[in-house]
């Protein structure tokens, strides 16, 4: 909710520095593509309203024009990156597992490429001043399913291998991570959060976590790799341990 600008809840898409410059062209391509619809809209707006009769209307609905342009840029960025992502996924499909964190490992390289493609739309989504069409809307295009009536806008949610049920509360400043790095290994494992779960503020879910229906995770705790939190129970601690079962 009332977060500072530095903690806006951008979905984490880290990129390996060794191959960052190599695929820069993809990133710039998506940025350029995302500005085309909004500039076409601006052209239409100016030519249509800049006349003797509509000039007052031109200035009157200029604030709403800003709102439309912000969302046009965001939506077209999402669409552009999803199209490129589909092509990349055809070349190499994403899969879970433990990989090597070296440039010879094909899975690791393609994970980085996917992150480069997703970075711009997710950055735009997080920097948007308006609270609509945020995580729940945007992440759906990248394969993350988030149910209805879920609060998840102030948390860092990974953009793949995550599924979140409906009526879930994910607290401010929490992170849901489906990837992890351990020394030379790179881990990709699905995080599953079922319906009616409550996750407090500043929690961290590590890859492989399964939270079953109606479980509660208290604030300021984290779950272990491959942890399973049972139904109707309360967990807390570092790492999360069972506190009470109903």
């Amino acid at each position: 909710m009332f977060q500072p600008a530095s903690l806006k809840g951008e979905s984490p898409v880290p990129i390996d520095e060794r191959i960052r410059n190599k695929y820069l062209i993809l990133y710039i391509l998506i940025i350029i593509l995302s500005f085309i619809p909004s500039s076409l809209f601006e052209y239409w707006y100016v030519t249509y309203f800049w006349s003797e009769t509509f000039i007052w209307l031109f200035f009157l609905i200029l604030p709403l024009n800003v709102l439309v342009v912000i969302y046009l840029i965001q939506f077209s960025a999402v669409l552009g990156s999803v199209l490129i992502l589909k092509v990349v996924n055809l070349i190499h499909a994403p899969k879970e597992g433990v990989f090597k964190r070296s440039l010879e490992d094909r899975d690791y390289i393609f994970w980085n490429i996917r992150n480069i493609i997703k970075k711009w739309p997710l950055y735009l989504m997080a920097s948007n001043p308006f609270p609509w069409f945020k995580n729940r809307f945007t992440l759906r295009f990248f394969g993350v399913k988030i149910g209805k009536k879920t609060i998840c806008d102030n948390s860092w949610i990974s953009s793949e291998f995550v599924s979140i049920g409906k009526n879930v509360i994910i607290g401010m400043n929490s992170s849901v991570l489906s990837f992890g790095i351990e020394q030379d290994n790179f881990i990709l494992k699905k995080v599953k959060v079922e319906s009616d779960v409550l996750i407090g503020a500043k929690c961290v879910l590590l890859p492989g976590t399964l939270i079953k229906r109606n479980a509660k995770l208290s604030a300021h705790s984290y779950t272990n790799h491959n942890a399973v939190l049972e139904e109707n129970s309360i967990y807390m601690g570092h790492p999360a341990k069972l506190k009470k079962k109903e």
Partner: protein, 289 residues
């Protein structure tokens, strides 16, 4: 401190502050519209005046009064626009906020989902959302403190309050308090079917360490310090002049003066030297000093 009926606030775990998206969140469009219209029309008048001074004809025909010194104001235009935009939105939404408070007086307690207080809490939060976002996104560091004051958070003088999640009501922060990075000050906690609202009070010259959570009902007395990575339970009282650490806060430590801690450091160093001279084993145990 006397408190009535603490038992209804007792929860087994701490959740988070936050709101659901209700249709009332569309008020952000109205706020944007009001701020934008004022901004654009003032600028239109300004540009029109400059255009008149330059060419003798009007940029767009409506009444102007051009003065030569308008040219001097041109560099200030951008800075002035920031002020104009933010403060029209701040004053407008603070007005709505006061109006909502009159409709339903905000009060502490535990409220069911869908009740009147629950609805008005959401309305107040959505009213305060955009102005505070704006104040924090703009490059003026004192602007967000002013924005919080507009929405009923009592913030004292010389307060550091930049990098944290802070609820806009039922929070009171004293003079010279310093809050660190990535903190949460919650006066609301939502559980699936209810919300807990309780006032948070942070005293004078307190220090709130990084990565901490302050839950509703916490009272930090003057000169108290909340240590790194700890959180407080609901209705916890942190005594003044002490350091409080723990998840939830359970350990208290004395605040040492610089001289005292320096003396201790010298003592530890000396003992380390002596033990080195003695050559009794290779591992130094600094903790025992």
């Amino acid at each position: 401190m006397e408190r009535e009926d603490d038992s209804k606030y007792e929860m087994e775990f701490i959740s988070t502050s936050g709101v659901y998206k209700t249709p009332f969140s569309l008020i952000i469009i109205i706020q944007l519209f009001v701020g934008g219209v004022v901004l654009f029309f003032v600028n239109l008048w300004f540009i029109n005046s400059l255009y008149y001074l330059l060419t003798g004809s009007q940029f767009y025909s409506f009444g102007i009064k051009a003065e030569w010194y308008y040219w001097l104001l041109l560099p200030l235009n951008i800075y002035g626009n920031i002020f104009l935009f933010v403060f029209t939105i701040l004053i407008f939404s603070a007005g709505i906020f006061r109006f909502l408070n009159k409709l339903s007086h905000p009060r502490e307690g535990v409220f069911e989902r869908g009740s009147k207080d629950w609805k008005y809490m959401h309305r107040r939060f959505w009213t305060a959302f955009f102005p505070i976002w704006l104040a924090r996104a703009l490059p003026l560091p004192w602007l967000d403190i002013i924005a919080f004051r507009f929405f009923g958070t009592r913030v004292g003088r010389s307060v550091v309050l930049y990098e944290g999640y802070i609820d806009p009501e039922f929070v009171e922060i004293g003079d010279f308090t310093m809050t660190s990075l990535n903190i949460c000050i919650f006066s609301h906690l939502i559980y699936q079917d209810k919300v807990i609202i309780k006032k948070v009070k942070v005293g004078k010259a307190c220090v709130v360490g990084p990565h901490t959570i302050i839950s509703p009902g916490t009272v930090m007395e003057d000169f108290a310090v909340l240590g790194v990575n700890s959180y407080t339970d609901i209705n916890q009282n942190l005594e003044g002049n002490l350091i409080h650490v723990g998840t939830p806060v359970s350990i208290t430590l004395p605040i040492q003066s610089i001289e005292e801690s320096q003396k201790k450091a010298v003592k530890v160093k000396d003992e380390a030297k002596i033990s080195k001279e003695k050559q009794n084993g290779s591992n130094l145990n600094l903790k025992e000093g």
